[in-house]
Each structure stands twice: as structure tokens, then as C-alpha cells.
């Protein structure tokens, strides 16, 4: 079990010594039981950091935002930035490092192991406690205890843990500067890709019908894209207009320029958007499950992303976020590639 005070002490020390300019972490939230991301910049604020099963957010996103801030304000960082990272956060950081979004020495990773838990799925919890949103949650090694308006309640871990955590194989942040908690790599709650396997038991027609329904519902709020640490492009290709505007470009040409995907939230455009996003995440998505969590209309986006992940694993033995030095999925070349069309 991790003592949260250890995390706070580490953050305070780093800030006091000036080794980091800020620490990204979680603090008690203002909405129900859920923690929320925060950026601690002063040593005395370190005690506001928390670590509990409601630390859902993938904090790698805050690293992306930090770098965007620096670039847009044309500032250079005075010191590295610290970040509290669980297993999936650290994997996302590895992918960002692979893609040279920032340098390893720019980040100080305070790893926290998810050990035998993971994070809660609020929807599952609500269902278990009769629709009342709990105000606090803790994990005792086997069960979650939550505080609700009707008193405390113990919930079995398996029943309320997020799907992604049930399927997670690497709950320990391997890439770290310092880490707390035991390395429970390989702990098993559910088979990897279990949700996907269950879904794929349906026949093709049923699956297509299912996705039509899902994409019909999408309101194109782009929450999935906004919450994803891998969607860090300044201009997303799905918004991109493939035409350079030159002085000689006529008004008619500007009006008729082509967009890859139209902006209206209709089924065909929604489907194209989600499929494009899934393809762009192939070999990059670390299955933190944030897109699925934040979706206001409950589209099971992990089914798309884990499908790509499994394909890449089966075809190329590829494991996203495993190591910084590893090749990226779409840019690596093997001279013994079995595909004859490559040569």
C-alpha cells in the first residue's frame, strides 16, 4: 500500500530544492468523490496531493498542455516538471518521449503503482449504490469502501473497477525517476482484450449494427480527442483543410476547398472521425481508457482502440509505451518483412 504522505514529501522536497518547477498530480476534487488534476508549484501546497482509486485522469495530458503553454508563450523551462504517474500515465509519457514531444530530462516522473487496484468506474459504482454519487472512496486491498449519503458501503473490487484496469497488465510505471508501491506487473483480473473478445463474439452484421448505433449517438463534442494525451497536434487532421491559401487563390476555390471530414455530426462523418482517430492511435494508444470515460454519450471507444492494439500485437509483436528506444509501429522497417509487397 502506498502512503500518500510519501508522494507529498517527495513533491515538497523536489519543489523546495528547485529540482522541478512544478508537480502535476491529483488533489481532492470539487465534484463528488473524484480527484482532479492539479499543478503544485509551491512546497507548502504539496500536502494537497492525493492518491486514491478516483485518480482517473491520465496526467500525461497535463504534460502536453504544459509544453503547449511553453511554446505559445515562447518561454523556456527553467527546470524539469514533476509528474505523479500511474502505470498507464507513464506508458503515455513513454509514447510522447518516443515521438520527441519533450525530452526525458524535461520530466521528473514520480511513479505510483496501482498495485492490486486500479481506478473506479463511477458508472459501475453508481449502479451498485443505487444511483447515489458517493463522496469518497478508498481501497483496502480487496474491496473499495465508498461513502454515500446513505452511509458507508463496501464494494468488491472486481465489480466496480474500470474495465481498462481489469485488463491492465502493467499497473506499475516502469519509466520513473522514483516510484512508490509494489510492482504487480502481470496481476490478472480479467484476460487482456476481454471486453473486445466479448464484443467480437457477435457476428459481423450485429457488430456493424452496433457501431451504427454508437456513431449515430456521437455529438462530436471532441471530448475523446481533448482528453487524449496522444491527440496533441495543434491542428487535428480531421479539421484540416488540405489547401494552402496563396495570394492567387480565388474566393471560389477557398469556398470549395475540401475537408477530410465534414463538421456536421451525422453518422457517416462521425464514423469517419472515430475510425480516423483509431487509426491515428494505432501503435500509440496505451489503453488508459480516458476517451471512453469522458464520453458523454457512452460510446465504448476502447473497443476501437484495443482492436488496433491487439492487431499490432499479433501482427508485429508491438507493445505501445513499452520502452522509449523502441521503434514506432508505423515508421519501422524490417528487411525480413514477410509482406512481399514491401520490397
Amino acid at each position: 500500500m502506498i502512503n500518500v504522505q510519501d508522494i507529498r514529501d517527495t513533491a515538497r522536497d523536489l519543489l523546495a530544492k528547485g529540482e522541478v518547477r512544478a508537480v502535476i498530480g491529483w488533489r481532492a476534487g470539487s465534484r463528488g468523490m473524484a480527484a482532479e488534476p492539479c499543478v503544485v508549484t509551491k512546497p507548502e501546497e504539496a500536502d494537497s496531493l492525493v492518491w486514491d482509486p478516483t485518480c482517473y485522469h491520465n496526467l500525461a495530458l497535463q504534460l502536453v498542455n504544459d509544453r503547449k503553454d511553453l511554446v505559445h508563450s515562447k518561454k523556456t523551462a527553467t527546470a524539469p516538471i514533476g509528474i505523479v504517474a500511474k502505470g498507464c500515465d507513464a506508458r503515455a509519457i513513454v509514447v510522447l518521449l518516443q515521438e520527441h514531444y519533450f525530452k526525458r530530462e524535461d520530466v521528473y516522473i514520480i511513479g505510483v503503482s496501482c498495485e492490486n487496484s486500479g481506478v473506479l468506474d463511477e458508472r459501475k459504482v453508481k449502479a451498485q449504490v443505487g444511483g447515489f454519487a458517493p463522496s469518497a472512496a478508498a481501497f483496502d486491498g480487496d474491496n473499495f469502501s465508498v461513502k454515500t449519503a446513505k452511509g458507508d458501503k463496501k464494494l468488491a473490487g472486481r465489480e466496480v473497477m474500470a474495465d481498462r484496469c481489469l485488463e491492465c497488465r502493467t499497473p506499475f510505471p516502469k519509466e520513473n525517476n522514483t516510484a512508490f508501491g509494489d510492482d504487480k506487473t502481470g496481476r490478472e483480473f480479467d484476460a487482456q482484450f476481454a471486453a473486445l473478445a466479448r464484443f467480437e463474439a457477435n457476428d459481423e452484421a450485429a457488430r456493424w449494427e452496433f457501431w451504427q448505433r454508437q456513431f449515430d449517438r456521437c455529438i462530436r463534442c471532441f471530448a475523446c480527442r481533448s482528453v487524449c494525451p496522444m491527440c496533441f497536434c495543434d491542428e487535428c487532421v480531421v479539421d484540416s483543410i488540405e489547401m494552402k491559401i496563396a495570394p492567387e487563390t480565388t474566393a471560389e476555390e477557398k469556398a470549395n476547398r475540401i475537408r477530410w471530414i465534414e463538421r456536421s455530426a451525422v453518422r457517416s462523418e462521425n464514423a469517419t472521425y472515430h475510425m480516423t482517430r483509431a487509426l491515428h492511435l494505432a501503435g500509440r494508444c496505451v489503453d488508459c481508457g480516458e476517451c471512453e470515460r469522458v464520453c458523454p454519450v457512452n460510446i465504448p471507444l476502447r473497443l476501437l482502440n484495443t482492436k488496433m492494439e491487439r492487431e499490432a500485437r499479433e501482427a508485429f509483436g508491438f507493445d505501445p509505451g513499452a520502452s522509449i528506444g523502441g521503434p514506432s509501429l508505423v515508421a519501422s522497417f524490417r528487411d525480413d518483412d514477410p509482406g512481399e509487397f514491401i520490397r
Binding site: 497536434c233 494552402k244 508505423v330 514477410p338 520490397r343
Partner: protein, 651 residues
């Protein structure tokens, strides 16, 4: 912007296209496209009248761009682009719509095929509407060539190029040039001594003023592209100065370290300091650092003490040499398929079961037995020898699917050589069938059967093992009589498959050239470009490209040399301007394109990708990899691709 005026030219290709595609309808439908000003069909667009009609149409109808619906751009893109230039418009405003290989040849239904041909043509029309007039980039070339591999292929290619006046760098991994041919005793079909035919060429190489010979050297890194390669070569230390060495053999006499001799395939031993064989080029001893007792610190030092010429220098260190060349010939040769993998024939653990090259050494006057055929286990003359063909070849289930091509011939040669050495001996050959295509080859095999009384048994050997009385029992079947055959042989020779050498695999990786499914280097076109690799400026010669015999190897080496000479005949090369360009605003500097680029043409400057326009081949790997659409290839912009997709998907 002025209105686009595209001309569409639909080719019948005789019946190749017209039999399946209604070419008239394609031409008529294309005439209705908004940007098309002229459209016609013709029986052979690539013929002289066909091409002239394109030129006339360009002039008469003031066309600014051309789409030719015909065969693969691999074949005639160059023809029609040049033709467009002749008519006074930019060649890069001409695109090919492939309605033959990608349509007529792969479909049967005429209606559907016509519909597809229309879509392919339409997509090319939409693409060409976005094409820019581009000018080729002129690239200065380095008029030197490199040959990798000093076997017969490499020697021949180097000599041909050097004799034509080109400076050539010949790189060989071993301490001497010569390759496998020097291990052979005699060569088919004339039974002339292999050393006698090769050594004059080796001497010519060593004395040629245009050839720089780098032996005991390996190519480590290649950058650049056609016309301008920069090659980094690691020259390993031989610890002996070739100029001063007098070849007295005193050093080897005192050397205490004895290791297996690779030139004799382990049938003899050599010292750590050795000369591979008497005719080695360069003529010098080499101290094998791995076998030596130790140089750092010096543990023995006897060879240096005894060397009167003072040729031995323990302070030699590996050296990295950089050579700039305009073209490279890869002649890295073959290895025999490892006997260890042939489990049914004892996996190399049964005494007196030899591979073909070992048998060559036994027959060779310079070999371990001075040319008397004696079996290795007890040095007696074998009276019954079984030769097994197709060991590892033509066995897709377990070994190599391909035919190694030379084994029928060399097995016949082995049988004949054996009978010449041991006239009272008996030679058996197990074969699947005899492949003796080639000048005087069939006659050679017939003589093995008739004059030299070799017993040819059609069938496979299922297994073999050593018997108590020191024989090798060979159990096979004669499929012509349907009888099982058991022979207690004194010696067995396996005609092992040829496989690409380790050096070939290494070269493919270093040069980033493709290999085929069997690991041999891939040629650019199996029929029309058999000596070109897929990468410009890199040519193939000899068994690195596929199994072949000596005459074929020599022909291919000369062919590769002539290709290099043609390439480097002018001071500049014209490089296609259809290369990648970067949209800085979208580039995040993720470096994916840098890793994806097979030509090392992209690097990062201030966090943005920069394309070297000479190195870029316009393959589009970067564009396909880029998640941000920040890099695209000229005249294949995402916008054009979008238009093409739309043209294909529209009804």
C-alpha cells in the same frame, strides 16, 4: 487560374486491354470530364504513330496535361513523359492510368472491367488536374564505383568497370579475394582447374591501377543515393604488412595456435597466423586475432620474433575508411545450407558424410589429401560413394522451396572426378530429376552415366547412419523400379542447397535493399531489370541474387558493370522533382518520417522535418506515416489523393 485542358489517350494494347475493357466507351466517357479537352483511343499508344498522335493532339488542342490509360507506369511512364516534353509541355503533367495490370488482366466481366477502367482513368484525370509543372533536379555524380564481395562475380564486375576507365573500390570480407570458386577442384562442363582459370583474374585485380582493393574489410554504413553514396568501411587489422611480407612461412611454423582451416572447410588445420592459400591476393599472411593467444597484452609474440622481414606489426588497429562512390555492385555470394539442419542425414554428426565443397577440397591438388580422394575418418580410399542431390533444395515443407540450380551439374562432376581418381570405385547418385539446361551440360551428365558408369537412382534417401563396420548405410528408394535400396557406402556427399550468404543478409540491411522470400537480394524486375536492385544505383551480381553457376555469374557481373558504366557516363544525373515537402505549421517534430524514410532523406532542423531533395525518391512513406498530414509528395498531395479516392468512389 486558367482552365485545365487535359488530353486522355486510351490504349487497346492489342487485345491485352481491349478484350476485357470497352476502350471506346472509356474514351467517350472521359471526354465528358470537366477538365478534359480531348480524348481518343488507339490500338498501340506506345507505338510510334500512337506517340505522334499524342504530340499532334497536344499541339492542336492546346493541351496542358496528359493522361494515358494503358499499362503499368513501370513500363511506359518514362516514354509518355518524354513524349509530352517533345510536344512542349512538362513531362510531370503526364500521368498513367494503369488499366491493364490493375484492371484488364485481373477481371473477366467486360461491363465491370470497363466501369473500373473508367474510374481508374477518371482518378488519374483528377490527379493530373492538381499536378504542378516541375523541373528535374540535376545532381552531380561521383564517377567511381564500389563492388562488395571479391568472389568471381565481384572480380569480374570490378575488372570490367576498371578496364572501361572507371575507378573501382573492391571490398572483400576475407583476407583474400577469390571466393568459393577457389575451393573448387575442377569446374563443369569442361573440367578445367578452377584455380587456373581464376588466378589470372585475381592477379589482374591486384595489379590494376584503377582498382583499389580493400580485403579483410566490411561495409558498415551506407548513406546517400544513386550517383553519390558515402560508404564507411571497417578495415580489420591483419597485423602483417603485405608489402614487406616475403611469404617465407616462418611465422606459421612457430605459431602455437592451431585452429580449423575454413578454406578447407574444416578438413585441415591452420595456425593463427596463416595465408589462406598459396595464390592469395593480396599475397600476405594474416594474423587471426580471435585465434591468437593474445595481442593486448602480447602473450606469445613468437611470429614477430621470427619474422626477418619485420613485416609483423602488433600495433595495427581497425580502421574506418570512407569512400565516395556513384554506384555499388553487390556480389556477396552464397553459403551452403547448413548440414546441421538436415536431421535425416545425421545433422553433420555422421563421419564421412561430406558436403559438396568438402568433396571439392578432397579432389583438389591443393586440398588436404593432395588430390587423392580419401575419406576423412580413416584416410582410406572410398570404394563406394553415394551422392545425394537436392539436399535442402526443393523441400518447401522443411527446407528451401527453390531449386539450387547447380547441384545436378556439380554432382555429375563429383561422380566423374571420383571415378577419375578411383577408377575401380562405384558411384551412386540419388536424384529427383536431372536439370542440365545449358551449353554442353546434358552431354556432360550423359558422360557421367555412360563413360564413367555412375549409377543414377531416381529417388530420395530417407535416412542414413553409421554401421559397426565403419560404413555409412544409405537407405533410399529407387522409384523407377519401386524397390527399396540400401547401400553400405564408404562415403556420402550431400549436394546441399545454396542459400544467401551471411554477407548478403548484412548487405541487404546496410544498403536497405529488399530481399525475396528466400532471402536472396531482390531484383527490380524479374525479367527486364535482373541486375538492378530496387534502389537506384545499386546493382546485383552472382549468387547474392539467386543460385547460379559460374558462366551465369560472370555474365551477370558484366551486365551489372555495364549498367554502372551507363549510369556514370554523364557528369550529372537527373533526379525526379516529385519529392516530399514539409508543411512546417503542422510538423510536430515526432521524427516518425525520419524513421520511415528508407533513403535517410529526412532530418530534423529546429524541431521540424527537412527533406534532402537529392536523397528523396518520392516514395511517400513519410506522407503515409505522418499523422499530421505535414509532409506530402509533390504531385501526389493529400488533396490529389483525396480527389482520386473520390473519383474512384463516385458512381
Amino acid at each position: 487560374m486558367s482552365e485545365k485542358r487535359t488530353g486522355v489517350f486510351v490504349c487497346h494494347c492489342g487485345n491485352n486491354i481491349a478484350a476485357t475493357v470497352d476502350v471506346k466507351k472509356v474514351a467517350e466517357t472521359m471526354a465528358q470530364e470537366g477538365t478534359v479537352a480531348f480524348s481518343k483511343d488507339y490500338v498501340y499508344m506506345c507505338s510510334d504513330p500512337g506517340q505522334s498522335s499524342v504530340i499532334e493532339a497536344i499541339k492542336e488542342h492546346r493541351l496542358d496535361s496528359v493522361v494515358v490509360s494503358c499499362c503499368s507506369p513501370n513500363l511506359h511512364e518514362g516514354t509518355f513523359r518524354e513524349n509530352a516534353e517533345r510536344a512542349g509541355i512538362s513531362g510531370f503533367t503526364c500521368e498513367i492510368a494503369n488499366i491493364r495490370e490493375q484492371c484488364a488482366w485481373v477481371h473477366k466481366d467486360r461491363t465491370e472491367a470497363t466501369e473500373k477502367a473508367i474510374k481508374i482513368s477518371r482518378s488519374a484525370i483528377r490527379r493530373v488536374a492538381g499536378n504542378k509543372k516541375l523541373d528535374p533536379i540535376a545532381v552531380p555524380v561521383t564517377r567511381r564505383a564500389m563492388v562488395i564481395g571479391g568472389g568471381i562475380a565481384g572480380i569480374q564486375a570490378a575488372l570490367d568497370m576498371a578496364n572501361a576507365g572507371l575507378d573501382v573500390v573492391l571490398v572483400e570480407k576475407l583476407a583474400t579475394i577469390g571466393g568459393h570458386i577457389l575451393q573448387l577442384s575442377e569446374t563443369f562442363p569442361t573440367l578445367d582447374c578452377s584455380q587456373c582459370i581464376l588466378s589470372p583474374k585475381m592477379v589482374e585485380v591486384s595489379r590494376h591501377p584503377k582498382i583499389k582493393l580493400l580485403t579483410y574489410s566490411e561495409v558498415k554504413e551506407v548513406s546517400g543515393s544513386v550517383g553519390n553514396f558515402e560508404v564507411k568501411i571497417l578495415k580489420k587489422p591483419t597485423f602483417v604488412d603485405a608489402e614487406t611480407c616475403k611469404l617465407c612461412d616462418d611465422c606459421a611454423q612457430v605459431c602455437p595456435q592451431v585452429v580449423s582451416n575454413e578454406h578447407d572447410l574444416g578438413l585441415t588445420a591452420r595456425r593463427a597466423i596463416h595465408i589462406p592459400f598459396a595464390q592469395a591476393i593480396p599475397a600476405s599472411y594474416t594474423l587471426d586475432e580471435e585465434a591468437c593467444l593474445g595481442l593486448n597484452p602480447i602473450r606469445c609474440g613468437k611470429c614477430k620474433d621470427v619474422c626477418e622481414a619485420g613485416a609483423i606489426n602488433y600495433d595495427m588497429r581497425p580502421e574506418t575508411i570512407t569512400e565516395n562512390v556513384g554506384a555499388i555492385v553487390v556480389a556477396t555470394g552464397f553459403d551452403l545450407y547448413p548440414q546441421e539442419k538436415i536431421l535425416e542425414y545425421g545433422a553433420g554428426n555422421v563421419a564421412d558424410v561430406l558436403d559438396g565443397l568438402q568433396f571439392e577440397r578432397l579432389c583438389s591438388a591443393s586440398g588436404p589429401t593432395q588430390g587423392h580422394v580419401k575419406r576423412p575418418s580413416d584416410r582410406t580410399e572410398p570404394k563406394e560413394v553415394v551422392f545425394i542431390q537436392c539436399v535442402g533444395s526443393r523441400d518447401p515443407a522443411q527446407h528451401c522451396a527453390y531449386c539450387s540450380k547447380i547441384c545436378c551439374m556439380y554432382t555429375a562432376k563429383h561422380a566423374r572426378l571420383y571415378k577419375h581418381h578411383v577408377p575401380d570405385g562405384k558411384a551412386y547418385v540419388f536424384y529427383i530429376d536431372i536439370r542440365s539446361g545449358g551449353k554442353n551440360y546434358e552431354e556432360f551428365v550423359q558422360r557421367a552415366m555412360e563413360e564413367d558408369e555412375t549409377v543414377y537412382l531416381r529417388g530420395r534417401v530417407s535416412k542414413l547412419h553409421r554401421t559397426k563396420d565403419g560404413k555409412v548405410r544409405v537407405m533410399g528408394v529407387d522409384t523407377l523400379t519401386g524397390q527399396n535400396v540400401e547401400i553400405d557406402a564408404d562415403m556420402v556427399v550431400l549436394a546441399l542447397a545454396m542459400q544467401p550468404s551471411q554477407g548478403t543478409a548484412d548487405a541487404a540491411r546496410t544498403l536497405k535493399i529488399g530481399r525475396d522470400k528466400d532471402g536472396f537480394l531482390a531484383e527490380a524486375h524479374p525479367k527486364l531489370k535482373p541486375v538492378e536492385s530496387v534502389t537506384g544505383g545499386i546493382y546485383l551480381a552472382g549468387c547474392a541474387q539467386g543460385p547460379k553457376d559460374i558462366p551465369e555469374t560472370v555474365s551477370q557481373a558484366s551486365a551489372a558493370a555495364s549498367k554502372v558504366l551507363a549510369l556514370l557516363s554523364k557528369p550529372t544525373l537527373s533526379h525526379a522533382p516529385t519529392i516530399a515537402t514539409v508543411r512546417n505549421s503542422h510538423c510536430t517534430g515526432c521524427e516518425m518520417c525520419v524513421t520511415a524514410c528508407p533513403y535517410d532523406a529526412i532530418h530534423l532542423e529546429n524541431g521540424k522535418a527537412v527533406v534532402n531533395e537529392v536523397l528523396c525518391e518520392g516514395c511517400g512513406s513519410c506522407s503515409a506515416t505522418c499523422l499530421r498530414a505535414a509532409i506530402s509528395v509533390r504531385n501526389t498531395s493529400p488533396m490529389q489523393v483525396h480527389e482520386m479516392i473520390e473519383a474512384c468512389l463516385s458512381l
